[in-house]
């Protein structure tokens, strides 16, 4: 009971900390603008060029993941929010003040994690839903659209929000391990952007085996209504990504406990 009460107090404190610095507010703002703005830009471009789209491309066209394309950019904003939530404490030294107030390190991390995942999940789901509805509205009349009444569509939109939340938590876990903002952000971007490029240099059969395990490919799988070729199904992709995040987070918590602050 008292542990729960303490967790509640430290979580409320982290909530005050989260919303009282500009970097988190700016991060969320950038994330919303990127997802909606780029989503609008891409869907408008698709609509205006629909007449020149080949029949094959029309057949494989996915109105859902296309309307959510802004998340590909927004995932970096979300990752940075997660990284900064902990790395800024190390760069400013305020981690020592935080740990003096909440000496139970797992509880401190859990409080931060609750604030991060709940707020990012909440915002992501709303933003992804708006991006989807906006995209379908832009498509309507010219490009085929889809509706949330379709179970697979609802799943894609919901998993898009979950994908972004998992990436935020992944950024946070990297922050626990590496402690330095710049190092964390470069590792984060490397895994999402550079890893797929490196895999492209591998033999085709290896590519087919590896690509589907890349975090960004898992994200694409999660947001697709029908699994793309050589990819996992949406729920399997979600479980694999969740496993990555859980392992990274577990290592981060282990190091947080062991190391001097």
């Amino acid at each position: 009971m008292s542990t729960n009460e303490n967790l509640w107090s430290s979580t409320r404190a982290e909530w005050i900390k989260f919303r009282s610095v500009r970097s988190s507010i700016m991060g969320v703002l950038v994330f919303v603008v990127l997802t909606l703005g780029l989503g609008a830009l891409i869907t408008v471009a698709v609509r205006s060029h629909w007449h020149e789209t080949t029949p094959v491309n029309r057949l494989t066209f996915d109105p859902v993941s296309t309307s959510l394309a802004g998340t590909i950019f927004a995932q970096f904003a979300v990752g940075v929010i997660g990284v900064l939530l902990i790395s800024s404490e190390y760069s400013s030294g305020s981690i020592r003040t935080s740990l003096a107030a909440v000496p139970n390190r797992v509880r401190l991390a859990a409080s931060k994690l609750i604030v991060l995942s709940v707020s990012i999940l909440f915002i992501s789901e709303i933003v992804c839903l708006i991006a989807f509805v906006m995209g379908q509205a832009i498509f309507s009349g010219v490009v085929p659209t889809d509706s949330l009444a379709n179970g697979a569509v609802l799943r894609s939109v919901v998993l898009a929000g979950i994908y972004l939340t998992l990436l935020a938590v992944f950024g946070f876990a990297l922050g626990l391990i590496l402690r330095q903002s710049a190092a964390c952000i470069s590792v984060f971007t490397s895994l999402l952007l550079v890893l797929p490029i490196i895999v492209l240099f591998l033999p085709q059969s290896w590519q087919n085996a590896f690509t589907k395990y890349e975090p960004s490919a898992l994200g694409r799988a999660m947001m697709s209504t029908t699994p793309p070729a050589q990819m996992f199904g949406a729920w399997t992709a979600f479980l694999i990504l969740a496993l990555y995040v859980a392992v990274t987070l577990g290592s981060g918590l282990f190091l947080l406990q062991r190391r001097d602050a």
């Binding site: 404190a13 005050i16 610095v21 500009r22 400013s92 981690i95 020592r96 001097d260």
Partner: protein, 308 residues
């Protein structure tokens, strides 16, 4: 009460704290004195559970820091005044701390008022001067009205008015029966602000006592003006005395009392014009005690600190 129990802390190759063992009692201001790099901050960090001890432990009222439920209500600490997120306002910083330890929100404004930064409480901490940051750190330490207070180099960055304020403030905290533990590398500061002093060097315990005890146990010197300084200096050297300084104004003599010097001069027919015992300052005591243990000593000869 604060207890350091055979505490050692090793960072890779350096033994930062080497078997420290002492108690800090309530009701007095206890100074923690040592040159830079002697392990004061490390000890403070171990007390707060930030760094894990290699051996031994530090307890507060018999408990490990990590086992205290709402630690800010038992222990207040100011380690590094700049250890605050620069983008957060002073008030929000304190609000978050208060909430995390179930401290009434009204305390935030009380402590801001008390340390004199209420007017800038809404401003970002990043723009604070070191003195303002120190005051914010003190406010944070006082937030939970704790019985044990730790301050690491609190006078750094404070103006003279602030230094005077903080000395009186430490005294009043101690008079209220609290345990007040203040570290400093400035002996002059400790001499005026602390009742009890613990001296360490290179992570090791050197001595402990009141300011008076530390200065009286140390040997003082005697300043002599006489009719025949050359003759007296020779005489002193023959009688196991040491001429510390032979200046135009007079001789400074160690290892002999003023009585002995007076008697010697009388027997040789030298007229004494002035004979003044000079009490060792805390600074001299500290220099002597830590001379071998200064980690980053300057290479200037030791004569630099014999000027009073």
């Amino acid at each position: 009460m604060l207890r350091i129990d055979h505490l050692s802390k090793r960072y890779k190759d350096t033994l930062a704290v080497d078997d420290l063992d002492f108690e800090v009692k309530p009701g007095v201001v206890t100074g923690f004195l040592g040159p830079n790099g002697s392990g004061k901050s490390t000890t403070m960090r171990v007390i707060l559970g930030l760094d894990h001890p290699t051996k031994g432990r530090a307890t507060i009222n018999g408990k490990n820091y990590a086992d205290i439920k709402s630690p800010l209500r038992e222990v207040g600490a100011l380690l590094d005044a700049k250890a605050v997120h620069p983008g957060r306002s002073a008030r929000n910083h304190l609000r978050a701390l208060a909430v995390s330890n179930k401290i009434a929100p009204s305390r935030v404004d009380e402590v801001l008022e008390f340390v004199g930064i209420a007017s800038v409480a809404h401003k970002k901490v990043g723009g604070f001067s070191l003195g303002m940051s120190q005051r914010l750190g003190i406010a944070a330490a006082l937030l939970g009205d704790p019985g044990v207070l730790l301050f690491d180099e609190p006078v750094n960055g404070l103006d003279p008015e602030g230094i005077r304020w903080i000395r009186e403030f430490f005294r009043s905290l101690a008079q209220e029966g609290r345990t007040v533990f203040v570290s400093s590398h400035l002996m002059s500061e400790m001499a005026v602000s602390a009742d009890q002093i613990i001296v360490i060097g290179r992570g090791r315990f050197i001595t402990q006592g009141s300011v008076d005890e530390l200065t009286t146990t140390a040997q003082g010197t005697v300043f002599v003006r006489c009719s025949d300084p050359v003759g007296l200096a020779a005489l002193i050297s023959r009688h196991q005395g040491v001429v510390v300084q032979n200046a135009e104004s007079g001789l400074t003599i160690g290892s002999l009392t003023s009585d002995e010097i007076g008697t010697l001069a009388h027997s040789a027919g030298i007229t004494i014009l002035e004979l003044t015992p000079q009490r060792a300052s805390l600074e001299d005591v500290f220099m002597n005690l830590t001379a071998e243990s200064v980690q980053y000593g300057s290479s200037t000869p030791e004569s630099t600190h014999h000027e009073h």
